[in-house]
Symmetry: C2
Subunit: 110 residues, 2 copies
């Protein structure tokens, strides 16, 4: 029946990017290293709990690195690795598609 199984690496990549918030976090980190609270603030509706989970997953995948600066109070910065920055073309293509095919949202009245 299923005579044409998918490439397992492609499958894994899609699964990662399909997790809620993953792409947004990577997108934010394209601007440079950020602290936990900065990422949290830049993505309204993303809770600290899920951000914590995602950062751990992305670190385990080698997409994000966690850098500790033992200042006081301690500073911890998250940044993209080369592997993480290599996701850029994917996000660019999503940007192109969205500007070509999605409608411009209406302005909201207050």
């Amino acid at each position: 029946m299923d005579s044409n199984p998918m490439c397992p690496r492609f499958e894994r990549a899609v699964e990662m990017l399909s997790k809620r918030w993953t792409s947004f976090i990577v997108f934010q980190l394209l601007n440079g290293p950020m602290r936990f609270v900065q990422i949290e603030q830049s993505l309204p509706n993303l809770s600290g709990k899920v951000l914590s989970d995602r950062l751990k997953e992305l670190e385990a995948e080698g997409i994000v690195s966690r850098n500790v600066y033992p200042e006081t109070p301690v500073r911890i910065e998250y940044s993209l690795t080369d592997k993480g920055r290599a996701l850029t073309p994917i996000l660019q293509e999503i940007g192109k598609w969205s500007s070509e095919w999605l409608p411009v949202p209406e302005a909201q009245q207050s």
Copy 2:
């Protein structure tokens, strides 16, 4: 705090593609029109319930079209619209990234 809000169209696109199974369904339909059960069989672990939900969402977005052939028994085929086929470069970039950055999985012993 959040001085740089994201483009709402980009945001919507990422949200769509971040829904579990969406990208896989689009990927399968790139091979041509498919029936409900064919899609279900091509994606092990995708349940009929979620497939039904996703196809409705994708139809509502104008990415997939549902074509009814009143044969007997009835044949219903799902296919990509132009808007749906325009997602191809995104999936291609995911493919490129995965083959460059993800490890080749080990063969399994039985």
